[in-house]
Symmetry: C2
Subunit: 204 residues, 2 copies
């Protein structure tokens, strides 16, 4: 197995580090698919190892088992969604970016739904979710959202709208006549949600 932690002398330090980074990355990619398909309790470390092309011991070594691996995925999502939620980007583009990730990397959306169905909470979730509302409030103060809307409830409604194609794929297909994984659907839904957000900016 080439992915075992290497003995200290070979290969050289920099290359060893890059190998390790690539292995971690491959494990996380595989874990995202497995957790997304089967949820936390249904996911199997052996399947993740097989998909990543590493042995299970390496997953233990890097992530300290299933729970640690799941926590690493959660951290990765927060980093990714933090990157999408750029404070300097207009709100309609932020919402459109979430739709795009949800559809082009569907396992994130499924992971979120499993997490929501199970009712489990990860450490730091509450703080993270509140910071999303704080951001909407800041945008409202800057005139991006009409003053009659409450940022907390709006955050919930926009979140539901953004995740709808992942959650309600068949419904979406019936509603729009397009498969949700087609580029045309993704483009149109992004465009429509941008318009919806534009409507929310105007005072009544």
């Amino acid at each position: 197995m080439p992915e075992e932690p290497k003995p200290r002398r070979s290969p050289a330090g920099g290359e060893r580090q890059r190998d390790a980074d690539r292995s971690r990355q491959r494990i996380l990619d595989a874990a995202l698919v497995e957790f997304g398909e089967h949820g936390y309790s249904g996911a199997r470390i052996s399947a993740i190892a097989r998909r990543a092309g590493v042995n299970q011991q390496l997953i233990s070594y890097y992530f300290n088992g299933k729970e640690g691996l799941y926590r690493a995925l959660t951290d990765r999502w927060r980093t990714l969604s933090g990157d999408l939620n750029r404070p300097d980007a207009p709100l309609d583009e932020v919402v459109a970016a979430f739709v795009h990730v949800g559809q082009t990397q569907r396992h994130w959306g499924r992971l979120l739904i499993w997490q929501a169905l199970s009712g489990d909470r990860e450490e730091g979730d509450e703080q993270y979710h509140r910071s999303m509302v704080d951001d909407l409030r800041r945008r409202q103060n800057a005139g991006e959202i009409a003053p009659d809307l409450d940022p907390g409830y709006l955050q919930l409604a926009l979140f539901g709208a953004a995740i709808a194609p992942t959650l309600l794929a068949r419904f979406a297909e019936d509603f729009t006549g397009l498969p949700v994984d087609s580029p045309e659907f993704v483009e149109r839904y992004r465009e429509q949600l941008k318009r919806l957000v534009a409507h929310l900016a105007k005072a009544l």
Copy 2:
């Protein structure tokens, strides 16, 4: 077991019919809870029978097993949601009514999520979903929705927003500071979605 199909002569016809209707109703109520908690494949007929206080044979007799029972629940949901989606009611009230049912009868929302996750389709789903979009298009023509919005995509976004408290209960709690099953949350979210719909009516 008092719920067995009765012999033909006693009690009198009308009362016998009412008993049968009540039994069917209790079975459907119990089935909604069981399917909502565990999904189709996880639901057990024995648990439904126990909850309804009938024996399993009666469920076979009335509904022809698990599949028939599930189909009867689907029919019931279509009737219920058809009643909510009154053509003469303003759109904001229709959306608010769905939020209310989703929160006060949470098992419907969970049932929908299970169905969506499994990717299963019930007979008539497509036609039913298209009729929902037709209704939005009619409302748009009547001036309830701005002309730049596409009824199919808007239907998806509103559906996602309406089901968000059921799907994303913990998120909702973090976003708003209120538990989603509190009357205060339900009332505020209804009010906020009504405002959101009002924004969508105004041309940009």
